[in-house]
């Protein structure tokens, strides 16, 4: 349960777990990089907490990606599907 009422109509999805896995980064390491508790990264990944704009920018800076590559209003398609579809395979 999150202490904040989350929008059911406009949820925020993120790719944190995939991006961490790609870079071999633990939750603790990402948490350390953006100066939050590791449990907050877990809550973000589970969708129990939506990040502030400041935290979202800090996370994007760690992965060197734009915000729309990490957070979205729509569910992300799996990266492998996206890569192979765009590659024409």
């Amino acid at each position: 349960m999150s202490p904040v009422r989350r929008g059911k109509e406009l949820p925020i999805y993120n790719r944190l777990a995939v991006l961490r896995a790609e870079r071999g980064m633990s939750r603790a390491a990402l948490a350390n990089a953006v100066e939050v508790n590791p449990q907050t990264i877990g809550a973000l990944e589970r969708g129990d907490h939506y990040p502030s704009l400041d935290l979202a920018f800090r996370i994007c800076a760690v992965f060197d990606l734009p915000v729309e590559a990490v957070f979205s209003r729509e569910p992300f398609t799996p990266l492998s599907t996206q890569v192979y579809r765009e590659g024409g395979a």
Partner: protein, 182 residues
Amino acid sequence: MTEKPSRLAAYWERQLDKLDELERRRAAKLPSWRTRRRRRRLALLLGAADLGLVAAAAIFKTAPAWTFFVLWFAVFAVGGVAFGLLRILTGRMNGGFSRLLDEREREWRHRITFVGYQVLIFLMIVAMFYAMAVADRPEGGWRAAMMLSALLVTGTTIPSIVLGWALPDDDPEDFEEGMDHD
């Protein structure tokens, strides 16, 4: 003139660092107890101890003195242990300074302190009516004071009870350090 504030600020920073270290050590304690089920049991135990305190205050000066003292100190001991354990198991959101919390923890802190504040207001109104009800009875002042104490203690434990009840199970992955293979 400028030295004093900077010394004070440096002292405050050192204190925050110490508190941060203390909270880190606490976060590693009782790992097998960090489940929602255990936290909820402790929250219920603390709530029961609060009710025991109120019951003891209600019989103060009307029942034999030993009955009051046995009940009062027994529930104080049980409640104290439950409160201490919940304090450890719920982490810095329950007691640390706001500066040590991140945004998610601050949201939790805001929620539990607001609920605690609302419940405390209600309990103080109950204490006020109780004081009016016993005002003209023998030892009315003592009885009102004891009930006020019991309800005040109850109100101050509400944030811990709410947090202990609402926090989910800890996710073991949150505490894994490894994974780096670059």
